[in-house]
Amino acid sequence: MTLPTIEPTMKLLFGGVLALLAFASLVGFVLGRWVTTENGRNTVRNLNARIKAWWVMVAVFALAFLFGKGVTIILFALISFYCLREFLTLTPTHPTDHRPIAAAFYLFLPLQYWLVWIDWQSMLTVLIPVYAFLLLPVLAVLKGKTDDFLARSARIQWALMLTVFCISHAPALLLLELPGDHKPIYLLFFLITVVQLSDVLQYVAGKLFGRRKIAPHVSPSKTVEGFVGGGLAATAVGAALWWITPFTPLQAASMAAAIVLAGFFGGLVLSAVKRSLGAKDWGVMIEGHGGALDRMDSVTFAAPLFFHLVNYFCAR
């Protein structure tokens, strides 16, 4: 097998990401030497676990990007799978709902990503909101159990919407036909970079300057200072990446701001869902981060919004 050739732009972008990670690792190392309090040491330990996990996650994404559309779609399908598993594990589904859950995992998840693969855009935006929405309660009702029926149906539909429908809009960016010779893979890079940097920078700014809590009962770590500082910084990074997108610098900044805002509310809403289920993390898959859905919560809200904004304003 021959390795695909890597475009200079992609080399530059991943070079930048690696430099950033190396810098973060260095900071983590120095902080580990420097911090003395028990509380501070715990924070640094968590920080270093997070950075280590970032190396792995970046490596996985770099490989997928390198091998192109097929592998990227498979990667996101796997991410959806793990997120759906985490969501339904934490959600108290009823044993009688075995059939709708099986349909969610074995029918709608593969079908949705197959639609992305064959580029059937009109269907991928209605499969889950329309067809799954209608079919899943039918499968449930045939079991004849009415206890809690609305809540039971809503749980499975929410799980599927967030973890499969929403997340699949990230690789669906690859389907967009852009003006000029712009490649959609860079839009995916733009989305993931801005969303994840926004999370990281809000976390850092919150740790450094955070005082006023935005929603203490929902997500105690989110502060006004963290949101504004981290959000503005991520927006600036997005603006600086305008040259890989079809946007002007100002458009890139607006897109990044929309991603930051959607990502923030995605994190907040999913945190509320998580807490209503009595949990702090969605899972234990990624050390320092929690579960896969803890890392993807902002993507669930940002991906569909970004997809439709690009489709509306830029796509041919």
Partner: protein, 196 residues
């Protein structure tokens, strides 16, 4: 080879992580007893054991299910190293193969309810556990609660859905001197329920 494949598939679909809350994994002789809600129970408990213990910790499985087809039989006997018992044995003592395994120094995994429950919490325990505890007083009795299995593969379904299952291991207990059978069985059941 098949074992690695089975572990991989189990982890991918239904998790099967172990939480050792009341004791650490140990090579000493134990009788693990757990609630029974799904055909996955045996597999999950086996997957939750550290690899070096798997050979010597033998699940007790019903011959009428695990001994049926060639594939199931092969997995039960060759991979899980299970002890098969006849649930409806007439005349012979169904506990006989269990006593043999314990006498040989192996540990066991048993499901004292005897049959899969519909509810989340276990039903009444059958007396098998009591008889084994009396015959092998040196074996530690470890309660286990298996969570989420009735959602991953409920009774009456034919294939599992990907919901992560967990095995929670509690504090080891022993049959007290002079403890009556019903009192002991109820105490053992309560030890499993405590971790629910």
């Amino acid at each position: 080879m098949i074992a690695a494949l089975l572990i991989g598939l189990t982890r991918f679909l239904v998790g099967g992580s172990g939480q050792w809350l009341g004791c650490a994994p140990s090579a000493r002789q134990r009788i693990y007893f757990a609630n029974h809600s799904s055909h996955l129970d045996t597999l999950i408990l086996w997957a939750a054991m550290p690899p070096d213990l798997r050979r010597r910790v033998r699940p007790v499985a019903a011959a009428d299910y695990w001994g049926k087809g060639a594939v199931q039989r092969h997995i039960a006997l060759k991979v899980l190293n299970a002890v098969l018992i006849e649930r409806n044995a007439r005349g012979s003592d169904p506990l006989e193969p269990l006593r043999d395994a314990l006498a040989a120094g192996d540990s066991l995994i048993i499901f004292p309810e005897g049959t899969r429950a519909f509810e989340r919490l276990p039903g009444a325990f059958k007396p098998g556990l009591y008889h084994l505890a009396r015959a092998f007083p040196e074996a530690e009795l470890v309660p286990v609660f298996l969570d989420n299995l009735r959602r991953a593969l409920p009774k009456g379904s034919f294939f599992p859905v990907p919901i992560s299952c967990i095995a929670r291991f509690g504090c080891p207990m022993q049959l007290e001197p002079g403890e009556a059978k019903p009192a002991f069985l109820e105490r053992a059941r309560a030890a499993v329920v405590e971790m629910a």
